[in-house]
Amino acid sequence: MKQWYRDTGLQARMFLTMFLLAAVYLAFISFLATTGVGTMGIVVVAGIFIFIQYFYSDKLVLWSMGGKIVSESEEPELHTIISRLCQIADLPKPRIAVVENNVPNAFATGRSKKNAVVAVTTGLMHQLNHGELEAVIAHELSHVKNRDMLVITIASFISTIAFFLARNLMFFGMMGRGRRDSGGIMAVWIVSILVWLVSFLLIRALSRYREFSADRGSAAITGQPAQLASALMKISGTMKRVPTDDLRKVEGMNAFFIIPAVSGSSLMKLFSTHPQIEQRIAKLEEMQQKMEF
């Protein structure tokens, strides 16, 4: 009963994805090592680029989203919600930011637990009730606890290098060496594109698995998977389907209601970083059931 928030299948899939990613990367590195094409320059530039992005992730993300760090006196309630959840999950309290935006959203960033920032939009605070807001914040805290920023950065490190190579190799190659190595450059270029494509799909899958994990983490911290399910429904607009009008009032209209068609083919699923809301809600409901029985 206590293990209701575990999902061994999910962990196995996550492990397999990471394993495949590592295999692709290793093959790529050994391929780069055996070809005589000078790729070191690009690798170093990409490395520095990723390092800066990782190191300043908190500032970069806050800046690009327009988030503002809020003090305890500005948002006392938000601070209390977060510090209590941190106490239960035994996490250092992150910095807290608010983004002036009506779209309900939340994110966590920062390279370590100590450097973490949890941000929410004003829209999120307005639309969700207390329990739902708590559940969404617990989801973000799980990202921090699971070190998702680090995991995804490491996972995409070589992918980014492959992307750099694919984009710049022709140019650099022509400049530096003339036409003698063009066959080798061509091969590296093609392999880089392939590696980038394959790792892109694997990273997307990994990222979706991390989302599911964070949902489970939220449920573990708050003890209320249903709150997160309800928050997800509200955020995605699905909640509009759950009517608030009295049955007697709408009875006559019922025949005219249209359930919005569920969109998204399986190809779209491959490309998205977040799993489908319906799938996440189904998983949360499963957890709630496991808790009850």
Binding site: K93, N146, A220, G223, M291
Partner: protein, 189 residues
């Protein structure tokens, strides 16, 4: 283990520790003699309720235990909910040791029924002679205490808290990381 859990995205909540909670009983003497702090006969334990039938049942069982125990020790108790949805059990007893043992009973009761993760803190109320209320808060996740001296307008008397720490450091397990000295405003205790 911690790294592997993070690597595979498992969110493991830390277990609650209750062993050191009794340290406050002995420390109570020093509070009075060296710090002029008098116990206010009141203590509280706070936990996050879980929305599940198992939890409701566990809670009922613990409440029953508490009712028996309180009858035995002549302790008054009452259960309230705060603005953040957390449940508080507030105890009242002139005998400080009875307060501590009943707090222990509730926490152990929840831990035994697999809900130890839900515990937030326990709180013991004191009063400085001619001064304001001061709290010692027990953090279940770390198994240690920290002082909390609130002033008006949600400010805290940090200097006094640091003094409490330096006097009590030898007797009481105190949270070393000051960043985890989370305040608890407007407590029902």
């Amino acid at each position: 283990m911690g790294f592997l859990d993070a690597f595979l995205g498992k969110t493991k909540l830390p277990k609650s520790k209750t062993k050191d909670i009794f340290a406050i009983s002995t420390a109570n003497v020093t509070f009075e003699v060296n710090l002029n702090l008098r116990a206010l006969n009141k203590a509280g334990i706070c936990f996050k309720p879980q929305a599940s039938s198992h939890f409701t049942q566990a809670r009922a069982e613990v409440e029953e235990l508490l009712a028996y125990s309180c009858k035995d020790t002549n302790t008054g108790y009452q259960i309230t909910k705060d603005a953040y949805g957390y449940t508080w059990i507030v105890l009242e007893d002139p005998d400080f040791e009875d307060l501590v043992s009943n707090i222990y009973l509730v926490s152990e009761g929840l831990i035994e029924r697999d809900f130890g993760e839900q515990l937030l803190c326990a709180l013991f109320t004191f009063k400085e002679k001619g001064g304001a209320n001061v709290y010692w808060i027990y953090n279940f996740k770390h198994g240690n205490f920290y002082p909390f001296a609130p002033k008006a307008n949600k400010e805290r008397n940090s200097a006094f808290e640091f003094r409490l720490r330096s006097v009590m450091e030898k007797e009481l397990p105190i949270e070393k990381d000051v960043e985890r000295w989370y305040p608890l405003w407007d407590v029902p205790v």
